[in-house]
């Protein structure tokens, strides 16, 4: 084991963790200040505003409603804990929330599988009335999710923001601190990869 001591660490955090955009500064700052003060109105408002988006994101990536609920709740809890000690979002509150959700999902899969290879059988249920059609859809969803899990975390993230959270290209670009063109390219590569994985499973 290489073991060195007192190596100076960089004064600032990695730049990729600090979104470049300042578009949401004025929107998020009062909200964060209220959260830091544990304002009794700001906290329920935070929950009402972001839970659904976080839940949908996590549910899309995991396919497990219970887990999605836990992860979405954990993201909001971590935000409260972070802002209380002066950490948390520097600019974009929503970007921080979605980034944290992505990390938690990645952690979940690392913990569960080391490398994701299988999918839990518990999938989201639709309201399809016919059981056979429901079963077929569940099977298809399971195939797609297995393929999704073979993508890189970043590719999973972009598809989950687009489909799970229902964000536009521009909104996704803001959340990921990228340009819209970069998101187009990332999304295209993600879909091409997904297609390859689906084909590999069919052969």
């Amino acid at each position: 084991m290489v073991y060195s001591r007192n190596r100076p660490l960089p004064d600032s955090r990695p730049t990729h963790t600090t979104p470049r955009t300042t578009a949401l500064v004025t929107d998020a700052s009062p909200e964060i200040m209220a959260l830091r003060a544990l304002d009794t109105e700001a906290i329920p408002a935070l929950h009402a505003r972001y839970l659904v988006e976080l839940y949908r994101y996590a549910a899309y990536r995991t396919g497990d409603p219970q887990l999605a609920e836990d992860l979405a709740s954990e993201v909001l809890v971590r935000l409260l804990e972070a802002v209380r000690v002066g950490k948390g979002p520097a600019t974009s509150l929503r970007g921080w929330l979605m980034g944290t959700a992505s990390h938690l999902v990645n952690d979940h899969y690392r913990r569960a599988y080391g490398r994701p290879t299988e999918v839990l059988t518990e999938n989201l249920r639709s309201d399809a009335p016919e059981v056979s059609a429901q079963a077929e859809q569940n099977e298809r969803q399971a195939d797609v999710r297995r393929a999704l899990l073979r993508l890189t975390p970043e590719q999973q993230h972009v598809l989950s923001l687009r489909f799970g959270s229902g964000l536009s290209l521009e909104e996704t670009a803001l959340r990921m601190d990228r340009s819209a063109n970069a998101i187009k390219a990332l999304q295209f590569r993600a879909l091409a990869g997904l297609r390859r994985e689906l084909e590999a499973r069919q052969t």
Binding site: Y3, S4, L9, Y55, F163
Partner: protein, 477 residues
């Protein structure tokens, strides 16, 4: 070319979403049809996973909301403990007052002058404001020490008020040492618990409580409220979760602040230091005791704080042995970092209801006896004799780095707060990674390169905060 392809994809995707069949959509760009078909089919497939996502059951929303509000209440309560409530002052007013006092009188001198102030004195508020400012400005790694110091200061103030026979409202936190009818001993303070006092059920000697009440002229605190603040719980790990553990039937919430020994598995025996926050049990630390075994019968004897002197025989991350006594090291343990094996030390310890001995404070004993002779406790009759608990010293998990810490302590008396090391990832549990036997916390600000997983060799830059190592960067090698 690629930009045109991506733009074409967006157009075809929009067409697809408005009901245009896939083959008709790609005919909008016949020259790109081959390249567009596969990703558009993947788009359709990916959209399948969004089916049903909008249906979030109301009970899930409510449950999540309740949890968040409970966390907020917990944080408020923690804040209330940590900081001094300067009632009637806004932050702005407080800042203005602080600045004014600093400029006109010199804050340092004023704070010094207020150091001996007691509740009811004109300078007492200055004293509390000074503490609050110091807490706010302290480094995270020092904050816990300050909180402990100020908590002890509250008890000392109460004792001083009682000696002077002054009447005033007070609140302090301490360990229940004895209960005799309505008379309790809390941190050496005599507390009368009348029938009108609001007291949590099931309190017993050994637990830590918050006391609110008032001093009177007869040298007694008349309690108005007594609430459980902290206690220990020993048992078997029955469930390990991201947000909660179950230990011998007790559900304990955990978070990033919880200090959890690495390598604990289902069925292991653990000792948990529990904070009671908003009525729920929160694990401040979970200490590994050993592999699966029968639940011990709780000792009927009260727990106590006691002191002794002796030679340091072993220094580990979770366990020290002094004068033959095995001491469990907990986050609150105040340790002299200059001590080495063989040094004479003075130990302040606490015995739990299950007979475990926690180290509260270990300091150098100058001119100590050559023999590791034990002394009785400072509190007289109820101080127990130290007893051998070999299972504790043997029970430390091999990955806890006991030897390493001991070695470090002997090699380098300086307290390290930054470190870089390389090793194998042996476990990833939530936000806690075990790397080369060491536990580091990973959060959203940790820079992770190369997507490392269990079994990979990584290089870690870490920083010590509040007794835990936080990973600044993890790089796969």
């Amino acid at each position: 070319m690629n930009d045109r392809l991506y733009d074409a994809f967006e157009v075809c995707r929009l067409a697809l979403e408005t009901g245009v069949p896939l083959d008709a959509s790609v005919r909008l760009y016949p020259e790109l049809a081959d390249e567009l078909t596969a990703p558009l089919e993947a788009w359709q497939a990916a959209s399948l996973l969004a089916t049903g996502l909008s249906d979030i059951p109301a009970e899930r929303i409510q449950r999540s909301r309740t949890r968040l509000l409970e966390t907020a209440a917990q944080l408020r309560r923690t804040t209330r403990r940590r900081t001094i409530a300067v009632r009637g002052f806004s932050r702005l007013a407080l800042a203005a007052l602080s600045l004014l006092l600093f400029v006109v009188l010199g804050w340092g001198g004023l704070a010094t002058a207020s150091a001996q102030a007691l509740p009811g004195d004109s300078l007492y508020r200055v004293k509390r404001v000074d503490e609050n400012l110091r807490l706010g400005l302290s480094a995270p790694s020092k904050r816990s020490d300050l909180e402990t110091e100020y908590s002890e200061r509250r008890s000392e103030e109460v004792r001083a008020l009682l000696e002077l026979g002054r009447e005033h409202e007070i609140e302090f936190t301490g360990v229940v040492r004895s209960q005799t009818g309505e008379i309790w001993d809390v941190n050496g303070v005599r507390v009368v618990v009348g029938s009108e006092a609001e007291v949590d059920a099931g309190l017993f000697p050994g637990v830590t409580v918050e006391v609110e009440g008032s001093t009177d002229a007869t040298g007694t605190v008349l309690a108005s409220e007594i609430h459980l603040a902290a206690y220990t719980w020993e048992g078997t790990v029955e469930a390990i979760g991201l947000q909660a553990w179950t230990v011998s039937g007790r559900v304990l919430t955990v978070d990033r602040a919880s200090a959890i020994a690495p390598g604990i598995r289902l069925g292991d025996r653990v000792l948990v230091l529990i904070d009671v926050l908003s009525g729920s049990a929160h694990a401040r630390s979970i200490i590994y005791l050993g592999p699966k075994g029968p639940d011990p019968e709780p000792s009927p004897s009260p727990t106590n704080e006691w002191e002794f002197e002796g030679r340091v025989q072993a220094i580990g991350a979770q366990v020290w042995i002094v004068a033959g006594q095995t001491l469990l090291i907990v986050p609150e343990s105040e340790l002299d970092g200059t001590l080495h094996v063989g040094d004479a030390a003075r130990v302040k310890a606490q015995t739990t209801a299950q007979g475990r001995v926690l180290a509260l404070k270990i300091t150098r004993e100058d001119g100590g006896n050559e023999d590791a002779e034990l002394e009785g406790g400072s509190d007289g009759d109820s101080s127990p004799e130290p007893e051998d608990t070999p299972e504790s010293s043997e029970g430390s998990p091999p990955t806890a780095g006991d030897g390493g810490s001991g070695e470090d302590s002997s090699e380098d008396p300086e307290v390290q707060d930054e470190d870089t090391f390389t090793g194998e990832v042996t476990a990833i549990s939530g936000s806690t990674w075990t790397i080369d036997g060491r536990q580091v916390v990973v959060d959203q600000e940790t820079e992770i390169e190369g997507d490392p997983g269990v079994g990979d060799t990584v290089r870690v830059d870490a920083r010590l905060v509040d007794g835990s190592w936080w990973a600044e960067k993890i790089e796969k090698r």
